[in-house]
């Protein structure tokens, strides 16, 4: 287990436990956190689990993991930033325990 904090556009913070090997998109869905939709379920077929990794975690989390993730981020509804990731592609492991992600204004 590791902790992930989701920060909403209104500044609200929700911290939940995410199992190791589980991804940050699912952590939001299992805990009914608004702002992550994840409509394709982690199949790299939509861009509705877009998040901004907090600057303090950006180095550890890294940049998009694949060409597909990179291309889909270009199609995301909210503006893409240097720290943009698809949260389904961020997998919980001890190195990112405590991760903070910011949710975009919209996923569509």
């Amino acid at each position: 287990m590791g902790k992930v904090t989701y920060v909403g556009v209104d500044g609200s913070r929700t911290t939940v436990e995410v199992a190791e090997g589980e991804n940050v998109m699912r952590g939001a869905l299992y805990n009914a956190i608004d702002g992550i939709i994840g409509e394709c379920g982690g199949g790299l077929a939509c861009a509705t689990c877009h998040c901004y990794v907090d600057d303090s975690w950006a180095d550890r989390v890294g940049t998009p993991a694949s060409r597909e993730e990179d291309e889909l981020l270009a199609a995301a509804s909210a503006p893409r930033r240097a720290t943009s990731r698809l949260s389904c592609q961020i997998v919980m492991d001890p190195a990112i325990d405590g991760l903070i992600v910011h949710l975009p204004e919209t996923q569509y």
């Binding site: 009914a32 394709c40 982690g42 077929a45």
Partner: protein
């Protein structure tokens, strides 16, 4: 009407079918009949027909059909809007299968809108997630090879029954924890339900399926196992066990959804592979691009549609949609939208990634999508390894079945 999951009641929407039942707010110039999925032009070549809808019909129009009138959305952009806005475009009453009004149930999670919907999905999503389905990959490859073993020396096969049907249905039934030896019976039921276009046959089939699944559910209550049916039977929702109607509505929905869709998809793809030897060789020569190949083949061979019921008056493309109207997103047509996929009928394995509507979008995106993608990938890889060259048996006339899942009826192959 808000859905009460514990007290299912039939929706009070009126069924509207035929020219004389067009509501007065529909402008005359927007009334057409495309004959999906039964017209001779459609059945001659369904995917080419749906691709050409962008030239033949307005982007949003009112389709009149003996099986039910509805607005048809064929633009990719419009499908995203409809499918992502459940407050206007509800799933209530959107599933066409007849039910006994005195013993009504909801198809779960298909007919449940947010936020309740997510609670049901959370029960089964771990088994259908990309990581979840990967656990099945090794047995999938074994199964593909066993099926190929049985036909390879013959130099020919009827693809639909030798591979297209047993491959995905066996995987699905194992995952559900239902008996694989019942495959033929289950598939016959699915065909009657999805392709008869006859309400009486559909109702009779629903009765048979219901009786079978109710018995299966009782058995899983007594003897839990690690299949999906058992998982649903023993799941909790909002801290309580699920009611019998919830369990039944959930199991029967997965059952109907799992039997016909990948079957039709594989049949479509194999017909294309058989007719396109150069493209087949291109795929074999570029094994690292398999995921993009699968996605592109799913784009041009999508098999199904997404229907919604409009519950609030709404304007789209300057067209007035009224509460009570039905709307159907013609997903295969949306996947040929030239504004999103330039040269849409060209199969291009190097397109930039876009949202392909094969599995719909929005919260009701197909939960079996990852299973379907993996099955398609494994089937293509294992088949092309062992039978790289094949063709449709000379003299064959390809015939499509009418109904809500689009694919060829028979596909005799030779090699």
């Amino acid at each position: 009407m808000a859905i009460d999951v514990l007290n299912p009641t039939p929706p009070d929407f009126k069924r509207v079918a035929g020219r004389d039942q067009v509501p007065p707010h529909v402008p005359e110039e927007l009334i057409h009949s495309a004959g999906i999925t039964f017209g001779p032009e459609f059945l001659a070549a369904p995917h080419a027909y749906m691709a050409a809808m962008h030239q033949k019909f307005p982007p949003l129009y009112y389709d009149v059909s003996p099986f039910g009138n509805a607005w048809l959305a064929i633009k990719h952009e419009d499908a995203l809007k409809v499918l992502r806005n459940p407050e206007v475009f509800s799933n209530e009453g959107a599933t066409p299968f007849p039910r006994d009004p005195d013993d009504y149930f909801y198809f779960i999670p298909q007919e449940i809108d947010p936020p309740q919907h997510r609670k049901y999905r959370n029960i089964v999503d771990p088994m259908f997630s990309p990581q979840g389905v990967l656990k099945l990959e090794a047995t999938m490859r074994e199964l593909a090879n066993e099926l190929i073993d049985e036909i390879i020396a013959n130099g020919q096969c009827e693809f639909t029954t030798a591979f297209g049907r047993p491959f995905p249905v066996t995987i699905f039934l194992r995952l559900m924890g239902l008996p694989v030896e019942m495959t033929d019976t289950f598939v016959d039921w699915a065909v009657s339900l999805l392709h008869s276009n006859d309400r009486a046959i559909m109702a009779e089939t629903m009765t048979k399926i219901s009786a079978y699944l109710k018995a299966a559910i009782e058995e899983k209550k007594r003897q839990p196992d690690d299949g999906v049916v058992s998982r649903i039977v023993h799941a909790q929702i909002d801290g309580r066990p699920m009611h019998d109607k919830e369990i039944f509505g959930f199991v029967i929905f997965l059952f109907i959804g799992g039997l016909d869709t990948v079957f039709a998809t594989l049949n479509n793809i194999w017909l294309w592979l058989a007719n396109n030897p150069d493209r087949r060789r291109e795929m074999i020569a570029d094994p690292g691009n398999i995921n993009a190949q699968v996605e592109e083949l799913l784009r041009v061979h999508s098999v199904t549609f997404s229907g919604r019921t409009i519950v609030k008056d709404h304007e789209m493309r300057g067209v007035q949609l009224k509460a009570g109207d039905k709307i159907t997103c013609i997903l295969p047509a949306c996947n040929f939208d030239p504004e999103v996929f330039p040269n849409p009928t060209v199969v291009d394995f190097h397109r930039p990634r876009q949202i392909v509507l094969a599995f719909t979008v929005g919260v009701h995106s197909c939960m079996g999508a990852h299973l379907a993608r993996l099955e398609t990938k494994v089937a293509i890889q294992e088949w092309l390894k062992r039978i790289p060259d094949f063709a449709v048996k000379p003299g064959t006339q390809i015939v499509y079945r009418p109904g809500g899942v689009v694919g060829p009826h028979h596909l005799p192959l030779v090699w």
